[in-house]
Symmetry: C2
Subunit: 331 residues, 2 copies
Amino acid sequence: MTQTFDVVGIGNAIVDVLAHAEEAFLAREGLVKGTMALIDAERAEALYHKMGPAIESSGGSAANTLAGLASLGGNGAYIGKVRDDLLGEVFRHDITALGVRFDTPAATTGPGTARCLILVTPDGQRTMNTYLGICVELAPADIDPAIIQAAQITYLEGYLFDPPQAQVAFRKAAAVAHAAGRKVALSLSDPFCVARHRAAFRDLVRHDVDILFANEAEICALYETDDFAAAAAAVKGHVGVAALTRSAAGSLVLADGAEYPVPAAPVPRVIDTTGAGDLYASGFLYGLIRGRPLPICGAIGSLCAAEIISHMGARPESELRGFVAAAGLPL
Amino acid sequence: MTQTFDVVGIGNAIVDVLAHAEEAFLAREGLVKGTMALIDAERAEALYHKMGPAIESSGGSAANTLAGLASLGGNGAYIGKVRDDLLGEVFRHDITALGVRFDTPAATTGPGTARCLILVTPDGQRTMNTYLGICVELAPADIDPAIIQAAQITYLEGYLFDPPQAQVAFRKAAAVAHAAGRKVALSLSDPFCVARHRAAFRDLVRHDVDILFANEAEICALYETDDFAAAAAAVKGHVGVAALTRSAAGSLVLADGAEYPVPAAPVPRVIDTTGAGDLYASGFLYGLIRGRPLPICGAIGSLCAAEIISHMGARPESELRGFVAAAGLPL
């Protein structure tokens, strides 16, 4: 492959359906605020019926990260599974319109393109309900080694541990990347997802991951502790670079025995936290690839997260390159 | 029908696809900023392919007005044509989730649910490209007289003059409303739409409309003048109440020989003007039905418009009842 990429992302290709909801709605529906639950088609239909008016926007954790990277001026590729249906077309349009290469063919049979019903409470927190649909068919054959080899970083979302074959695809991608002398990054995605696959994640972090993204709940879930400091201490020896995000408290970047606390970027009002972690990763990875010092990588990540939480949806509304440049950070 | 309605809206049932675009993009595509162009399926596909990443949100002028009315606490119904496809389900979900009654059955054959490709320039102006799809099949048979008779106001969007049968449906609804002693409201929708059907619109305004909504360009198009004052003077004797919107200059309400200038409500930053006129009508009609003085009706309209232009999309993101109450206006 003559084309090269800063990052190739592999993830569940999802279209988000976002609606405002009161806390009482979450309680009535038995939903745990701030987390992601997997739901089947029937439950998706029932929940959609009860939700308020919504907007539709492309989502998917790694896809959001790649969209953010492209909006910063980065050069990305994406691997993920859609159906040849309307939502699949929407997903493909939105990511390719940003210049991200997306070659994975749409499935012509099987369940529909994945959707995530996202309830945004008045505090801006998002609670997600994912119908994986055709994502369960992402398979090792969908991992094009040429794309992985052509990318400086292969970025994997932890959510991929839920669809069974995707975990195999995930490991294939990591192996190809390392064999080509490339880096592997992982986002832990969700504390419940970590809990479902804890042993596999610990093994992966220790042996196959160079750059780890996790929020407080996720890193605590990985090490089965309530103490963030203990979790941060535990991960230190296990991975080259760890970027641990802490919402309004900013992030903590760990590398080579050093710790770099990074403040959060100010936001006039938090509207919807969907995609905050994904966009932090966009900025962090962009900085890393451009050779910026780790605190600057974190600061770019903070800014990208600030943009995404200031509106509904997990894809940037502003061109991030201009947004970050306006804040005076090097790109 | 035992249920009664404040307003029944009749319009083109459309799902919006909104993307940011530069002025140069409009120029390249030959689009006239701030207006609505009708496009066919082929052009819709080609334009979508060239557009940036988008979000999808229910739209349709009268449907937006009814959504706003419901968000204010009003009691509405809607008549419009969708297909039994995904966009049709999205449209139905979004309007019924607000409590608006929507009984028009989905078509089971014919073109798909209408979509409008909306390009939002950095100044917040929207330029619309509508593929009418199944809207062209809205027919007189879709007008349920019982719903019209049960509504204090029948609200019609001028865009309905484009699909041929819809104009007949439109006249049927007006006749039923007046026979039942109800009021008829009309929005002129778009200057080009007015120009396409000028004689019919003039006749309608003069003989069948009690409450007219128009912006500066539309009322000028109706009377073939460049002079807003001349157009305002011309409409005075033709209709009971006219609410003429003038963007940042607010609106001018005309009734019984009197004129009431209404200021625009302040907006921190105009993000997307899509739906501004529709939501002004929501607030104005809501005030009118609650028996508020005309300047208050206009002020409620201004506030609803301010909410809608402060974010992407033509459906309220905040509950308008609380939003208007917070500004100290009576509801």
